[in-house]
């Protein structure tokens, strides 16, 4: 029993928060102004809990297993949720259904935690569904907006479709090998044609979840339609968790058949980077822009994944940590501006520096971090990804990735240019930023500057593997 409490502490704490919210909702209810800080404190506690009493262990047969690395990955995700709760506090406070929103978000987080910890295909599938379905409801949360419902509809359809493919892949795998346990599967080489087919189906489902080209088509519409809090959750937390489990599955479960999937990964990675970048060039809406930029970023993550388990894990975990700071900073600024003025295209940001220097610097810092320019952490993150990828000796691939960094710089600079250089007759008026959002942005900025320069963080991640 005590084993259960310690091994599943992060999941259990999420469940406790969900139940707490449920009781609040069923009981007298609380004002959003008092409830929100309470939730934030609970989330922070849950995040901190990820650093104590970590041990390697298994539960429910081989359904659920955990170790220090997995606990750290979960902590990163929890921290992301905490940041979102800070950055979106204005929007959340106005919402009539804030407890429900948090319940949905935490349910999805619970699903992701279980996903990372899953030890067999059944658990994996269930956790993935738990991590997906609440997001559809979250996407639909701007109840007055048609676009929001449209986004949710697209999301649920594509999610259902990809689950179908995934289930098909899983059943084929079970049919051929007779097992669904990761440990048992790891001894099976993917050699028969049928098993390769099954693996491709499996891979496709990941493609949908991480929006790898050519399975990325849902991304932009869903990002644009959803409320920004949901979009940011979808783009960093959800993607991060799937990336974590993706590495584990590729190397721990299908590790023996690296020859089968290595080139698959390379081709998809190049396509993802290129298409994400090229489409991002022409976007005007900041959310669509970030959708394509995040597709391109996934391409870079795939570069690292191709490099081998140990280097890939450390580089990807490190990158996701940095990515959470950078991307959430952009979403935070966009959220504040959209909330205050309802404007969300890049053209609206013209001349922002004159009126809102604080927001402008945060945005610029985040953009440079996403583009991978030092001294921001994004530079170190990108370099770690490329270094991990070049471990396999395929330097042409790294060269392509490097040139893609140049393309991506172009569109990140478009935003910086709009903010600092372009003139605007009707710039966004000075915005009063609430304390919580400001605190969240400062946290992000601190993360962007410090995570790269403090080498100990990367060493800590490496020590966990």
């Amino acid at each position: 029993m005590s084993d259960l409490l310690i091994i599943m502490k992060q999941e259990l704490m999420v469940i406790v928060i969900i139940f707490f919210l449920l009781f609040v909702k069923l009981g007298k209810g609380m004002k959003n102004e008092t409830l929100l800080p309470l939730i934030q404190i609970l989330l922070l506690l849950q995040f901190i809990a990820g650093f104590f009493f970590n041990q390697t262990g298994q539960l429910f047969g081989d359904m659920f297993y955990t170790n220090g690395l997995i606990a750290f990955e979960k902590a990163i995700l929890s921290f992301g949720v905490y940041l979102i709760s800070l950055l979106s506090s204005d929007w959340l406070k106005q919402s009539k259904h804030m407890p429900e929103y948090f319940m949905l978000m935490l349910a999805a987080l619970l699903g992701m935690d279980l996903l990372i910890s899953s030890g067999n295909l059944l658990m994996f599938y269930l956790a993935l569904e738990l991590a997906t379905i609440p997001i559809a409801a979250m996407a639909n949360f701007d109840l007055e907006k048609k676009q929001s419902s449209e986004g949710a509809m697209k999301f649920i359809l594509s999610a259902a479709f990809s689950s179908g493919i995934l289930l098909f892949g899983i059943s084929l795998i079970y049919g051929i090998t007779g097992t669904i346990s990761f440990a048992a599967l790891s001894h099976q080489a993917v050699n028969s044609t049928l098993l390769i087919l099954a693996f491709v189906f499996f891979f496709t489902a990941f493609g949908f979840k991480m929006s790898i080209v050519p399975f990325h088509l849902w991304t932009a519409d869903v990002y644009q339609g959803s409320p920004i809090a949901t979009t940011s959750f979808l783009s960093v937390i959800s993607k991060g968790s799937v990336a974590f489990i993706f590495i584990t599955i590729l190397y721990k479960v299908f590790g023996q058949s690296e020859t089968v999937w290595y080139w698959m990964l390379v081709v998809l990675s190049v396509a993802t980077m290129l298409i994400g970048n090229l489409f991002a060039l022409r976007q005007q809406n900041i959310k669509r822009f970030l959708a394509f930029s995040s597709i391109a970023q996934v391409g870079f993550i795939l570069v690292a994944i191709s490099g081998g388990y140990v280097v890939a894990t450390s580089a990807v975990v490190y990158f996701i940590l940095i990515y959470i700071f950078s991307n959430l900073a952009v979403f935070g600024v966009a959220e504040v501006i959209t909330n205050a003025t309802g404007r969300e295209t890049i053209n609206d940001y013209k001349g922002l520096y004159r009126t809102n220097p604080f927001l402008s610097w945060i945005m610029a810092l985040a953009m440079f971090s996403l583009a991978g320019i030092p001294p921001t952490a994004g530079f170190f993150g990108k370099l770690m990804l490329l270094t991990a990828g070049s471990n396999s000796g395929n330097f042409w691939f790294i060269l392509i990735a490097g040139l893609n960094m140049v393309i991506s710089l172009y569109y990140y600079l478009i935003v910086v240019r709009a903010i600092f250089m372009d003139k605007n007759e009707n710039p966004i008026a000075p915005i009063k930023i609430s304390v919580m959002a400001k605190y969240g942005m400062i946290l992000c900025a601190a993360g962007i500057i410090l995570v790269g320069l403090i080498g100990k963080i990367y060493e800590y991640i490496q020590s966990l593997i």
């Binding site: 270094t387 000796g393 040139l403 240019r417 600092f420």
Partner: protein
């Protein structure tokens, strides 16, 4: 001397600037900071010479090492040799002059966007990156400091620039980033082939297979070549330099282009001697084209800033030519040219900035007789012009002469022809410089508005005197510089010769 001082002082200056309240405070903090850096650079030079005189012949002096990452193996490994010391000195000269020249940014008469604090922040940040670059002995950290300058360059040109500034800023950032991408791949290949080390000293003791050298050398050389205006990757130079604000152009042409030259010598040629030998002829051809093309295009320019930007392409070509010639004298000449051109071009841009501020035009045709209204500025214009065309006694002569003498040491027809062709550019340089000086300084005053012009202010005077001092110091007593650079060139030559 602890080399951390060289990057900590700029960093502290940046912090102090950020926390300054008024514009006046920002300016003085920047000035005090940059003068402190100047003093430290002189101290470094002094201590360096003292150590060498005492017989300490270790390749790198004042080494220090701080770990950043374990795997990949990245260290803040700092150390200096003669080139680094010279470049650090150059950086502090240009920075101090740049701070002085930008004194009126944010004043009433300044028509730009103002934002004094932001401007100085970017300028100091640029210098911070350059200092870090010149003392790094770890390729990862070197790359880090090289890339750091992208943000300030982009913003300096885009926000405080003139003309088609957004276009120029974008072009510059993207082209330099493209160069960096090539460098990045190159250093990753080296890292994995050398058994996981980024350390330049360790890498220099290894022999890479000639196949690897043949692949990696062009990557790294072209990558750094983009920074140093290697033909045909020079196209960002004219636009970038002419759109940037005065201090920005001074820094871009004076320091940022030298980052590339330094990288070509220190990383490409030094670490990959086989590759350098393999591609030397191509480098010579490209740099000769760059020198001649730059000189001829300069003849056609009507805008003073474009004039100096294209002439920079031509002059920096001598650095690359010197590297391509692969003799000790030529490489020493290349290094002298980096320092000399750095000071000279900074002064050139500073003077152009001053002229522009007073006449509000950069078109050569619209000027005339300025000698009568601003004698001090025009005298400096004469000096820098003569330095550019290689008058003996000024720094340009020493540098270019050394390159030519070094090139002549190769006694086959190809090298001789290339040398002669490059020499021809001096004639062209003389034509455009003399013609420009004639049109700008001499003759009747074309515009009666010009009669109201006042000569230099104190800050501009200091900046000009500082840089002219640099030019004369190299031109009249070049021994101190050649003695500093020759041992460094010798080490590189030894590696090329293979012992």
């Amino acid at each position: 001397m602890n080399l951390l001082l060289i990057i900590i002082i700029p960093f502290l200056t940046i912090l102090f600037v950020l926390f300054s309240k008024t514009k006046e405070q920002v300016r003085w903090v920047s000035l005090v900071g940059s003068v402190t850096q100047l003093c430290i650079s002189f101290t470094l030079l002094f201590l360096f010479n003292q150590e060498r005189a005492a017989g300490n012949s270790v390749q790198m002096l004042f080494e220090s090492n701080y770990k950043l990452f374990n795997s990949p193996n990245v260290n803040f490994h700092f150390g200096v040799d003669g080139i680094s010391v010279a470049m650090i000195l150059l950086t502090s000269f240009v920075l101090t002059a740049g701070v002085l020249v930008s004194w009126n940014i944010g004043n009433k008469e300044d028509k730009g966007p103002g934002l004094t604090k932001e401007f100085y922040f970017q300028l100091l940040f640029l210098a911070f990156g350059a200092y870090g670059f010149f003392i790094s002995l770890d390729l990862f950290i070197l790359f880090f400091f090289l890339e750091i300058s992208v943000i300030p360059k982009y913003l300096l040109i885009g926000v405080w620039g003139s003309g088609k500034k957004e276009y120029s800023a974008n072009k510059l950032a993207l082209m330099l980033m493209g160069g960096s991408a090539l460098i990045l791949v190159g250093i990753l290949v080296l890292y994995f082939n050398a058994g996981h080390t980024f350390d330049i000293i360790q890498l220099s003791q290894m022999q890479f297979s000639s196949q690897i050298q043949k692949i990696v050398f062009p990557l790294i050389f072209i990558g750094f070549g983009v920074f140093t205006a290697l033909f045909p990757f020079h196209t960002w130079v004219p636009d970038g330099h002419s759109s940037a604000p005065t201090a920005g152009s001074m820094f871009l042409a004076g320091i940022s282009m030298k980052l590339g030259g330094y990288g070509c010598i220190r990383v490409a040629t030094y670490l990959l001697p086989e590759g350098a030998k393999e591609y030397a002829n191509i480098i010579i051809v490209l740099s000769t084209i760059g020198i001649l093309y730059g000189a001829f295009v300069t003849m056609m320019q009507k805008d003073l800033k474009y004039l100096n930007a294209y002439s920079s392409v031509s002059h920096v070509g001598f650095t690359l030519l010197g590297i391509g010639m692969l003799t000790q004298t030529a490489i020493t000449g290349a290094m002298i040219q980096m320092v000399s051109h750095g000071v000279m071009t900074a002064l050139f841009f500073a003077v152009i900035g001053m002229i522009y501020q007073r006449t509000h035009t950069r078109q050569i045709n619209e000027m005339g007789g300025l000698m009568k209204v601003m004698p001090f500025i025009m005298t400096s214009f004469f000096i820098v012009g003569f330095c550019s065309l290689g008058l003996p006694g000024l720094s340009g002569f020493v540098a270019e002469m050394t390159v030519f003498v070094g090139s002549w040491e190769n006694n086959d027809a190809f090298h001789r022809i290339a040398t002669i062709a490059a020499c021809m550019s001096i004639v062209v340089t003389a034509v455009y410089i003399l013609r420009t000086i004639d049109k700008v300084a001499m003759g009747p005053i074309l515009n009666h508005e010009f009669l109201k012009i006042t000569d230099v202010k104190w800050n501009e005077k200091f900046a000009v005197i500082l840089l002219i001092g640099g030019i004369l110091a190299i031109g009249l007593v070049p021994e101190w510089l050649t003695n500093l650079l020759r041992p460094a060139a010798e080490i590189i030559m030894n590696r090329i010769k293979g012992n």
